[in-house]
């Protein structure tokens, strides 16, 4: 039995320790906001935070998440930056199909936590690991600037 702290709540999961965190979150805990896109850390749809650091949960064995605070999109609004990101995403209607957006927002939260006034180049650096097939990139960029303004 593996013990996980997700969004401030402790969960127990009877899974093999080498199972990727992604599938434990989704299939065992039914926290489905974190998405499967590629399984090889190419698309970023599965991005979650471990103690505030972004990780690709599709290649992170669940055993390595034990003892760390896991944050998923379902817990994004518990934090001031996360709330600002979520609200900016809504104000600008960033989403289209929406499937990648959990991962996009999780990456954006880390960027804005570390850098309250990111430039376009900073955004490119922080967000280039997150694919969006609908190509909502222009609005993602604008929403990050918008969230930065609201946090200032």
């Amino acid at each position: 039995m593996i013990k996980l702290n997700v969004n401030g709540t402790t969960h127990q999961a009877d899974v093999n320790p080498d199972t990727p965190l992604l599938w434990v979150l989704r299939d065992t805990l039914h926290l489905t906001g974190t998405k499967y896109g590629c399984g090889i850390a190419q698309c970023g749809a599965c991005t979650v935070h471990l103690d505030g650091t972004p990780v690709r949960s599709c290649i992170t064995p669940v055993s390595s998440a034990v003892g760390h605070k896991i944050t998923t999109v379902e817990g994004i609004d518990a934090d001031r930056v996360g709330k600002a990101v979520q609200e900016a995403w809504r104000r600008l209607d960033v989403v289209q199909c929406g499937y990648c957006q959990s991962g996009q927002m999780m990456s954006a939260v880390v960027l804005l936590t570390e850098n309250r006034k990111p430039s376009d180049a900073d955004i490119d650096d922080a967000m280039a690991g997150n694919l969006c097939r609908c190509a909502t990139y222009q609005r993602i960029r604008a929403a990050i600037h918008e969230a930065a303004r609201s946090l200032a």
Binding site: R26, K35, R90, Q96, R133, C134, T136, Y137, Q138, R141
Partner: protein
């Protein structure tokens, strides 16, 4: 879908037919209960459902029933915008629910008897239907209020979900009137608004799916969990047309979590309690494939065959004037060849489908784009009547055409698995990214040639376009309507309807039938290749004639004001004709392209910078669009921004390659998508129009690649004639 005979209801029959069947009530709010008591009615109604698209609750909720899939293109918001405007609803109280699969009530009016989403038709076919649905609801609310207040309907106004009569001071919300309105008869005729009265259409109406898609609560097929559900991951054949010869499942069955392994026509399915166990089980399978009947050519061999075919005349798709004479008498001729690869849709959510099979029917959860086709296919496989197949249409994590299966491929795969285990458990079929990318149903590989005849005085006399590529429609239920005399309309769309005045004009087509790669519509379909060859070739014609590309197009567009309108608007907003700023030694260029698709008109001007190593950066794209009445302008902007990025992926990277019949690419490492650092700045300008609304999901895609190629030519003098671009040619 031709066999699906559906009775066409008149609007009145339709509305009356669906106003029936209201359900049992609960505790009624005082006002409505009083109304009912006065009317001598038993309180047996909970909602006001004037038609199949609208339900108003006593809690003031306004539910719009969407017959179209929401796959990112904004259909839910668009449908709700139209209905809510005519209803005069409070936008903040409007919610959207998906319609069940029911071709009788929810058919796509541009597809005849079938329900489904595609061809950028959601708004175009629903425009009047949703307006009437909203106006009908409004009229019944007004009639109920007039009766209760004992006033004339004429003095009643409706605004933001509140019905009021100023003279008497009466006022009530939709929710308060809902039950009384449900007692009103459905009016035979309703008054629709004049465009100047619109309060949501053409204004800002925020997306209805933004909230759920930003807190993890939106449910896609991948997110469905049913009690006792098993997840299936399938070993698919490595070649198109290969079959299972034998398999050994002992190791797979020993994987913890695996509960069953079954053979299906599509391969071997491993069923487990969770996705990861199913994947491990699938990886532990040992399958021997029978490749005797499989397709084994590579992309380069296919292309070589197409080049050979292109040396002879194909089936004539269109002819005007006498091209032979025009070319014989030409002062100069131009000739060019174009290559287009297979393309995968690669939506972020790989394909999946959930089915629960019972003895008297089945229930499906799917990002459902081909509702009637899938319903009938499942009914056929299981031996049910179509109405015994209940389909829950969920959000799709992208599609770009892929979920509109012409033969219900992945839906039937899920069905075969649940059938193989005799319905013992509901099954979620999960395709891993590699399954999705290697499954075929690609945008077909195409080869084009183009020839132009020019006279000695700067005129374009002749145009001959030859195309070689597989038919998308052949073998599908749409073939009867879309393939005429051997010509698939989707192979030559965008080529035969070129808007330019050219006196001698010919398009011919070869349709190879011996290529075993399944092909499908891919966002913008035929226009995804025809816009590129025609619009880059026209640029070459302009250069050869020494004419400005915009000026030449306008000269040839005399009878096409909507084409000319977007071209002029894009050119003006982009600063066409003004020099493009560039540091000394930096190669920059500006290019334009214009294309009509799905009855919408789009012009795009691209600005590019080409580095010394040949790499291309698209800096800015200015779009002008005429899609008739702009229902939701912000969504139109969003769709064009996205279309630019989607099409830029195809310009720079998109390519599925076959080697010995095997698909080389399997994931995003081999099939890269555009990333945020490569996204140009996109500006969208919308032509004001009173015309009926037309498509917006696809029309932004076709002009992008030719606009960029034309900009590259302006910057470097080099003409790129294959997609994706081979930028090594541009190195200096």
């Amino acid at each position: 879908m031709n066999e699906t005979v559906i009775q066409n209801f008149s609007r009145r029959q339709f509305l009356q037919g669906t106003a029936a069947g209201l359900t049992l009530g609960f505790c009624l709010p005082g006002f409505a209960a009083n109304l009912l008591a006065k009317a001598g009615q038993a309180p047996t109604i909970t909602d006001f459902e004037p038609n199949a698209f609208l339900r108003i609750g006593t809690d003031n909720s306004v539910i719009v029933i969407a017959k179209h899939l929401e796959m990112g293109q904004g259909s839910y918001t668009g449908l709700a915008t139209i209905l809510a405007d005519e209803l005069d609803a409070d936008w903040s109280l409007v919610r959207v629910e998906s319609a069940p699969a029911d071709a009788r009530r929810y058919n796509n009016l541009l597809w005849g008897a079938a329900q489904g989403t595609g061809g950028s038709t959601a708004m175009a076919n629903s425009w009047m239907q949703m307006r009437q649905a909203g106006a009908t609801g409004r009229a019944m609310l007004v009639a109920a209020a007039a009766k209760h207040w004992k006033v004339d309907t004429g003095g009643i106004t409706v605004r933001d979900g509140v019905v009021a009569h100023a003279a008497s001071g009466h006022k009530a919300t939709f929710g308060e009137l809902a039950l009384a309105a449900a007692q009103e008869s459905v009016p035979a005729e309703v008054q629709l608004k004049e465009p100047k009265e619109f309060r949501l259409i053409g204004k800002r109406a925020p997306r209805k799916d933004s909230a759920a898609k930003t807190d993890g609560s939106a449910i896609y097929t991948q997110d469905v969990f049913l009690p006792d559900m098993l997840v299936a991951v399938v070993a698919h054949p490595p070649l198109f047309g290969a079959k299972v010869r034998s398999f050994d499942a002992r190791r797979a069955r020993s994987v913890k979590g695996v509960v069953d392994v079954v053979q299906i026509p599509q391969g071997v399915a491993v069923l487990a309690h969770d996705t990861w166990s199913a994947k491990k089980g699938r990886d532990a399978l040992s399958v021997e494939w029978d490749e005797s009947g499989a397709f084994k050519l590579g992309s380069s061999e296919i292309l070589a065959r197409y080049r050979e075919l292109a040396k002879t005349e194909g089936a004539i798709a269109k002819v005007e004037g006498d091209t032979a004479q025009a070319f014989a008498g030409a002062a100069r001729t131009l000739y060019a060849e174009y290559e287009f690869p297979y393309l995968a849709h690669a939506p972020m959510e790989p394909l999946n489908c959930v089915i629960r099979l019972g003895t008297d029917g089945c229930e499906v959860w799917n990002g459902e784009q081909m509702n009637t086709g899938d319903q009938y296919a499942l009914a056929g496989l299981f031996g049910f009547k179509p109405e015994q197949v209940k389909i829950n249409m969920l959000y799709a994590g992208g599609s770009f055409g892929r979920r509109a299966g012409k033969d219900s491929d992945y839906v039937l795969e899920a069905a075969h698995i649940v059938k193989a285990i005799k319905g013992r458990a509901p099954v979620k079929l999960v395709w891993l990214r590699e399954d999705d990318m290697r499954a075929g149903y690609y945008r077909p590989l195409f080869f084009h040639t183009l020839e132009a005849a020019l006279d000695g005085h700067g005129a374009l006399l002749g145009w001959h376009h030859r195309l070689v590529g597989q038919s998308i429609m052949a073998g599908s239920a749409f073939a009867k309507a879309m393939v005429k005399d051997g010509i698939d309309a989707t192979s030559i769309e965008g080529a035969v309807n070129l808007p330019y005045t050219i006196p001698n004009f010919k398009v011919d087509l070869h349709t190879p039938v011996d290529i075993g790669v399944p092909v499908l519509w891919w966002r913008s379909v035929g226009s995804s290749h025809t816009a590129f060859s025609t619009e880059t070739f026209l640029d070459e014609v302009a250069a050869s004639l020494g004419k400005d590309p915009v000026a030449l197009r306008l000269e040839l567009l005399k009878d096409h004001p909507r084409h000319a309108g977007v071209l002029q608007l894009a050119a003006e907003k982009a600063g066409w004709g003004q020099p493009l700023k560039a540091e000394p030694g930096v190669r920059r260029g500006r290019g334009v392209a214009l294309h009509e698709s799905f009855n919408s008109y789009v012009a795009e001007v691209a600005e590019v910078t080409v580095a010394k190593d040949g790499s291309v950066k698209v800096d800015r794209v200015v779009c002008a669009v005429d899609c008739g009445t702009a229902i939701n302008p912000d969504n139109i902007r969003s769709q064009l921004e996205g279309a630019v990025g989607f099409a830029l992926t195809a310009s720079l990277y998109g390519e599925i390659t076959l080697e010995g019949g095997r698909v080389k690419q399997g994931n995003y490492d081999g099939y890269p998508l555009l990333r945020i650092n490569e996204m140009p700045k996109v500006e969208v300008h919308i032509v004001e129009s009173a015309n009926a609304p037309t498509g917006i999901g696809e029309p932004g895609v076709p002009p992008l690649a030719p606009a960029v190629a034309n900009a590259i030519a302006a910057a470097t003098g080099k003409r790129l004639r294959r997609l994706p671009f081979d930028t090594t040619e541009l190195a200096v």
